[in-house]
Amino acid sequence: MNHEYFLAMSYGAAAVAIVAEIILLRVRRARALRRIEEERDLETQD
C-alpha cells in the first residue's frame, strides 16, 4: 500500500467524523425545538 492510502484513510475518516458530528448536532437542535413547539401546542390546547 502506498502513502496515498494511509493519508486518505486518516484525513478522510477525520472529515467524515467531523461532518457526522455537525449533522448530529443539527438533528439534536431541531429535535429540541420541535419538542418545545409540541409541548407548547399541547399546553395551549389544554
Binding site: H3, A13, I36, E37, E39, D41
Partner: protein
C-alpha cells in the same frame, strides 16, 4: 465584569449563538492554511516519506483530546463546587467533541503506525492510555445520561471526569516513563527538531482544531440549554410562534 450575568443559561445561549459562527470561520481559515502549508509547502520527510503528513491531523487531535478533557473536568469541578447549571451543561457539551478528537487521534495514529512501525496497534503505554481516555469520555456521556434527573447525571459525570484527570499525566509522560513504541515529543517548550514548515502546518491545524472544538461546544451547549430549559418562557419564545 459581572460573571454571574454570563452564568445564566438565557444570557449564555445568546452569547454562544453570537460567537460560535466566528469560531467556525476561524477554524475554516486555519484549516485551509494548515492544509496548504502541510501538503504544499512542507518538504517530504527524509525517513518517513510522504506518510508523515498524517501528523498534521494526528498531533493536534491528540493535544485537543487531552485539553478538552481537562476543560471538561474543570467545568465538572465548578459544577460540583458551586452547583452551577451552566458549568455542568458546558461539561456535557465538551464530551462528544473530546471523544471525537480522541477517536481521530487513535485512528490517524493507527494509519501512521502501520507504514512507520509495521503495525496499526500495539498495547503500548501511550496508545493504551489514549484508548482509556476515549473510554472515559464514553463513560462520562453514558453516566451523564443515565439518570432521569439530569442534575444527578451532572454530578455523577463530573465526579467521573475528576477521577479521570489522573489519566492525563499518564498519557503525556508515558513516552518518558516507559519504553514505548510511540516516539517522544518532537515539539516542546525548549524547541523542536522539526522543519519550520512542518511545525507551522501543525500549529495551524492545532489552531483550526481548537477553533472548531470551541464552535462545536458553544453550539452544542445551546442545544443542551434548549433541552434542559424547555419549560421556561424565554425558550418557549424562541420556538416558532404557536
Amino acid at each position: 465584569m459581572n460573571w454571574f450575568y454570563f452564568a445564566s443559561p438565557a444570557t449564555f445561549y445568546r452569547l454562544a449563538g453570537r460567537i460560535a459562527p466566528w469560531f467556525f470561520v476561524l477554524a475554516a481559515i486555519f484549516a485551509a492554511a494548515g492544509l496548504y502549508v502541510g501538503f504544499v509547502v512542507a518538504p517530504t520527510d527524509a525517513q518517513q516519506g510522504e506518510v508523515y503528513r498524517v501528523i498534521f491531523i494526528h498531533v493536534p487531535a491528540a493535544w485537543l483530546s487531552m485539553f478538552l478533557y481537562l476543560v471538561m473536568a474543570a467545568y465538572g469541578a465548578v459544577s460540583l463546587s458551586f452547583n452551577t447549571r451552566l458549568a455542568a451543561m458546558m461539561a456535557r457539551a465538551l464530551a462528544p467533541t473530546g471523544a471525537l478528537f480522541t477517536f481521530i487521534a487513535l485512528w490517524t495514529g493507527a494509519f501512521w503506525g502501520r507504514p512507520t512501525w509495521g503495525t496499526y496497534w500495539a498495547w503500548d503505554a501511550r496508545m493504551t492510555s489514549e484508548l482509556v481516555l476515549l473510554f472515559l469520555y464514553f463513560g462520562f456521556i453514558a453516566l451523564a445520561n443515565a439518570f432521569e434527573d439530569p442534575r444527578r447525571g451532572d454530578r455523577a459525570a463530573a465526579l467521573l471526569s475528576l477521577i479521570g484527570v489522573v489519566n492525563l499525566p499518564i498519557i503525556y509522560f508515558s513516552v518518558q516513563w516507559w519504553n514505548t513504541l510511540h516516539q517522544g515529543s518532537s515539539v516542546s517548550f525548549k524547541g523542536t527538531s522539526m522543519h519550520i514548515a512542518m511545525l507551522q502546518a501543525m500549529v495551524l491545524m492545532a489552531l483550526a482544531s481548537w477553533m472548531y472544538a470551541a464552535g462545536m461546544s458553544f453550539s452544542r451547549v445551546r442545544a443542551i440549554i434548549l433541552e434542559r430549559e424547555s419549560r421556561t418562557h424565554w425558550v418557549r419564545a424562541l420556538a416558532r410562534p404557536a
